[in-house]
Amino acid sequence: MGDHHHGPATGIGRWLFTTNHKDIGTMYLWFSFAMFILGGTFAMIIRAELFQPGMQLVEPGFFNQMTTLHGLVMVFGAIMPSFVGLANWLIPMMIGAPDMALPRMNNWSFWILPPGFLMLASTLFMEGGAPAFGWTFYAPLSTTYAAPSVTFFIFAIHILGVSSIMGSINIIATVMNMRAPGMTYMKMPLFVWTWLITAFLLVAVMPVLAGAVTMMLMDIHFGTSFFSAAGGGDPVLFQHIFWFFGHPEVYIIILPAFGVVSQIIPAFSRKPLFGYASMVYATASIAFLSFIVWAHHMYTVGMPVAGELFFMYATMLIAVPTGVKVFNWITTMWRGALSFETPMLFCIGFLILFTIGGFTGLMLSIAPADFQYHDTYFVVAHFHYVMVAGAVFSMTAAVYYWLPKWSGRMYNETMGKVHFWISFVGFNITFFPQHFVGLAGMPRRIPDYALQFADFNMMSSIGAFIYGASQILFLYNVLATIIAGEKVTDEKVWDGAEGLEWTIPTPAPYHTFEVPPKLDAAHA
């Protein structure tokens, strides 16, 4: 209470006790970057082991722990929280709200994450080792054959789920209830739209994941037989429940990325986004389809032919709304006054590489062909094209784009461009060859491989080290900007940027829009 216009508190208490959406956004972003480095370290261990055929550095069991934790940490620790951080920072500023709708719960959503991940990481030091059953934790590997640390893995998943659900409820309440007068749904920035739909997906599927891990817990400790055929259950049931969560989950990861790209490409094309309404409808269609395609992850596990056909055709349908989006971004750039600052470079990189990832996804959607691709490096290549070049590239673009607004300082453009090119080249050296070894039959999640895959794997590893190292440059650039970057004071840091967040002072004051803005006639 009291004076609302004072700045942040001082000391550690500011961060522990804050209810400010900007502080919480900042914590999410730094936490997710720390997890990105941790998950990246696991990836480097994987690529180091795969540098040459044969067993070099780690035991097979530990290798399995690395692939498992790499996936879990990247999905739940790096990518998802990073976009939640972005949502916290941007949604109130984009819709003209004083803060998130439920500020104390917002703080709680964040603070249960670090101890949750601490618990997950602590399994590395437990008897029997960390979870080693892949990030998809299929039963019975994760039940009958799991190390005792699986119990803590299960509770860690519960905690992350609680965090996601509370965060999403907050975002939904904020978007539905806190928009400035005149900010109708179809006038919201596309980033807000994509997050609204993402939050809906999260509230819908995180509880299903909680149900899945709860069944695991019961099978392990209380003798139930959900995933055991001996008692009348079915291990495949686990896969169905998991992927009912898992497929919407991958759109939870990519939809906010679509939102970011839809903000940045118009800014550097100096044109409004082409086909705004179709973008909204495409996002909603993708979200709807995500609920009826889950079994395309399970073509080879055994399913009636009618099921295979249904999931195949439903999956192919996703290409339609996704295509709408890609064409809209390209059309936005068409005859625009383009300039290629770092955020734009990352968005164009996103556009090209995500499209490649989308095409390989289309290949994988064909059930008969998938019998060849399933569980090979082709799948690994596919989802890294959409997860890394899709989600992480757009996240990186977002940091470069909004950092001047957040910090009031400009990043080093040359260093940013160097970061982009090293990332772009390193990423492609890492993952492009994996298409070839995958099509030739190299299985994923195995620490050794046949000799004919040696050259491509060495390329992959070198690319991974390059891509990994480029993140240190990114960290340096961000830190240097915050500490000593060139000051910017223009409200509109980028001349083509549109939206309410560019009407407030730079750097963004601690409290913004305590009184809702009045949208002028052109926008209201």
Binding site: F152, N177, M178, P181, M215, F226, G231, P304
Partner: protein, 326 residues
Amino acid sequence: MATTEQAPAGFEKYYVPESSSLAVRATIGLLATVFGAGLLLNDMTFGEPGAASMSKWVLIAGLVFFIFTLASWFRTAIRENLQGMNSAQLGHSYVLGMFWFIFSEVMFFAAFFGALFYVRQLAGPWLAGEGEAGRMNDLLWPGFDFTWPPMITPQEAVGGVDSQPIANNGAFLTQDRSMAFADAHHWYQWLPMWNTIILLSSSFTVHVAHTALLKDQRSKFNLWLGITVALGIIFLGLQAAEYYEAYALFGLTLNSGIYGSTFFMLTGFHGFHVAMGMTMLLIQLIRSMKNHHFTATDHFGFEASTWYWHFVDVVWVFLFLFVYIL
């Protein structure tokens, strides 16, 4: 594009609380709870006999701390509202929060209902050899026939835990009797029917209480809310009796194969939610009787609890249909 100078007419300031230690305290409580639960379960399943005694104190301490923190959180929210700090817009945020929270609960139950349908309609018949997917039946589970409720597990069909050709992960022994409606002559002894009547009536009584509150009839409100809470307690008592019956008389346990698994998980989680909803309503009753909280126009704590109660009621209707009747 926009100006921040004038407030639109009728604008009421949205209350954003200053810094608060509630979240960090709740985090400590929640994490201690799950960490303690993890330790306890691992000690019970994998540890030495008696090892569980220490870890349970971590769980209890965490749980107590968590519950006290939540209580103080709700107290804070109530106090702020009574001090008039909440605008109508903030009230709407609470409405949205509660609605989407209940939606997430619906999806949690959907996972377990999904498991039930999958097993009953697909996996069960396949295990018994039906269709393309059932071709392995003769090899893996010869002699297993699928019925619902299953009166034999695949393991029992092949002659017990040591005869099964795949990994041994425990003994699954079916019940002697299922919880389905059995005896038309003693229909009045069938507890699920009474529980259905009780829970459906309680949705009605809580609605009567709500109507009374809207007319500012305090004592009528307290009476009907009290009846609702009592019905909730009776429901839980009958469910405890039913569980006793299952374990002691019917031999139906968590180990009874997929029927026991789905039965206890669905009804158990539902019972837990009834206990939660009953506690929520009880707290509203105490608030009303002791502190004279709630007016005809300002009673969201009560209203949210009734939504939760109706949700629990609807879940029970589905349970009654798919777990007990069909």
